[in-house]
Symmetry: C2
Subunit: 252 residues, 2 copies
């Protein structure tokens, strides 16, 4: 019976820069009566990684460029926030009131470069950037979990992204370690023993979405989710495996 | 401890036109030692709904229009299949070799109008269309499950869609019943008691993605998934709640 069980690790204290997230994970699992096992997956909200990595910026410290000022004017956003969005991005795709769609430095397309005020700090001047290199963050967490827990797990860092043609955000992977984020089923037999034609499954994104369901919604009260039963292939995967190459992009 | 448990209901026989999917679901759950409860969610692969509804078409019976012939030439697809894609669609967004991106009659953007050869029948001439009205299919399943099981559950019909900027397909909802597919958290307090600004969570799509992880991948060996612990709000939701209105579409 293929069963997938996801547990939101509630009761994690507010994370501070420098905290050992792997240790916090194992402590929380212990409180929940869970023991880490090979083939488990741990999903971390990008925000908790960013906090542990100290990716806070005070808006009053930001120097605003002319480019940021012009875009801020056209989308009615704080010019200092727009400056940070530009610094975090490779390309601006669309600008609308309150919204800047960019290709983030790490390659994915998202709104406002993933920079957010909510759940950041008890201070309206403080914002939080995404992890500087979420794949590297995932890899170091995976290694630390092996060191502390003695097992090989996969790590997915998720964030909530909008979609081009659908409303509502969904959890997607912004960093991965220890798994192949795409499951390539091309050539495998279908139910009638004919080879499948086009089937690459974005399983890291599906894991990210599943975890997002129980992270406590917008309040992110449970920023770490433990998953057992995910049918993934271990391996040295990277976020870039999930990103559509520009020459195949039909909608930029 | 918020826990989400998804069980792939394996051992479902190959579904035929006219089969009672609600009865098959309850029988499979019984074999898995599960009893249906209020607030459960059942996720059905669109293909199993289509089969039960007899949405098979023989390619040799298709009359090809001039428009379909022209598009088929430019994308190197079977003109009869292209004809069906056009009949199932409101608008063609992009045409590339092997690929036609359309707005489906039911409003979502997807590749090839969701028409597929794989897992359909032991006959290369047979293809399967999506359910004619997946919301209606979900609603009648939900009512039949209430009738047979005596409880109120939500139903999500999922399909695998590609994304504009990411590789790999993910499960998304193409029909819903019994739940609000968007969770609107605007105005709720964040961790620091400030109101959240932009937060509409596409939870029906996240449920669809989670279930997709254990449906047996491309072979769809387990086309029905039972989910318990999904934090959703019951209500009369519709797929259209998840579709971005055209005036807000920045990427068509």
């Amino acid at each position: 019976m293929p069963t997938l069980t996801l547990t939101a690790l509630s009761g994690i204290p507010l994370v501070q820069a420098g905290d050992d997230l792997a240790a916090l994970t194992l402590q929380a699992m212990q409180r929940h009566g869970l023991t880490l096992a090979d083939q488990d997956v741990l999903v971390y909200a990008s925000k908790v990684i960013s906090k542990a990595e100290g990716r806070f910026v005070r808006l009053r410290d930001v120097q605003v460029s002319a480019a940021a000022r012009a875009i801020a004017h056209s989308c009615e956003k704080d010019p200092r926030l727009v400056e940070l969005i530009l610094q975090e991005s490779r390309e601006v795709l669309r600008v609308r009131p309150g919204l800047i769609i960019v290709e983030h430095r790490q390659g994915f397309v998202c709104a406002n470069a993933g920079i957010d005020h909510s759940n950041v700090a008890d201070d309206d001047d403080m914002v939080l950037l995404l992890p500087a290199d979420a794949d590297a963050s995932a890899r170091s967490l995976q290694q630390r979990l092996r060191q502390l827990g003695g097992v090989d797990v996969a790590v997915v860092i998720n964030d909530s992204h909008g979609r081009a043609w659908r409303l509502g955000t969904v959890g997607v992977a912004v960093g991965v370690a220890g798994l192949l984020p795409l499951a390539d089923r091309r050539g495998q037999p279908d139910l009638f023993d004919r080879p499948l034609q086009v089937t690459m499954l974005g399983i890291a994104d599906e894991i990210a979405a599943a975890a997002s369901l129980i992270m406590g919604g917008a309040a992110e009260s449970a920023p770490i989710v433990h998953a057992r039963g995910v049918p993934y292939t271990s391996g040295d995967g990277h976020l870039s495996d999930l990103l559509r190459p520009r020459q195949l992009d039909m909608f930029r």
